[in-house]
């Protein structure tokens, strides 16, 4: 499944999993209707408890990205594409807002940030 978790991170494991799967759904690497790895196999893969993978899947279900059928599996849900994009735009806006606030108190110019953006956009 190609998920990488860090135990030393302050971000909970279930959230790391959630975010990475969400990215795969949004980028269409995981397609609508496709089955996710079972909580057991994923747990075994990542060497963590099934409860943690279950927790991650539960969160994804709450946000509408997947659907779980007991004893069958968890599948990518048919979530509205426009809503997803809107959510992502809002997340980005929130981050940019934080950036701007830091920049203000630290006298970091808009140009400095734009060149950061240019550089990071080029990479890879």
């Amino acid at each position: 499944m190609n998920i990488i978790i860090s135990n030393s991170s302050n971000v909970p494991i279930y959230e790391q999993i959630k975010e990475q799967i969400k990215s795969k759904i949004i980028s269409n690497e995981l397609k609508v209707g496709e089955m996710l790895p079972s909580i057991r196999s994923l747990a075994k893969d990542l060497r963590i408890s099934v409860i943690t993978t279950k927790n991650a899947y539960e969160q994804l279900e709450k946000e509408g990205y997947v659907e779980t059928i007991p004893a069958k599996g968890t599948y990518v849900a048919n979530k509205n594409v426009e809503i997803i994009r809107e959510e992502q735009l809002q997340k980005v806006e929130q981050l940019i807002d934080t950036v701007v606030n830091i920049a203000r108190v630290s006298n970091i110019s808009k140009d400095e940030i734009k060149s950061m953006l240019d550089i990071l956009y080029e990479e890879e």
Copy 2:
């Protein structure tokens, strides 16, 4: 002291305090040598426990922003300005990196982000 905390936030109270005081130090609203409010008065102000304000001050001390003298008070330390700026630049860079990663999977263009930046920079 003009600090605003939110109990409903998922960010710990002590960290909210820490960040806001840090901002005041960086923007020079709190000047080197100046005494911070006592943990007691701040706790009373914000209607929280002294342990929480103490925790916030301890974190600030660890990061070198303040110095605490037992039974006397906590004072703004003489931290190197260049180091502070470097830290803030790194924080911004990390945020922009997150933004770029989200933008990639969601097909959000660099121009969209730049105009967000323009808009948020203008405000206030």
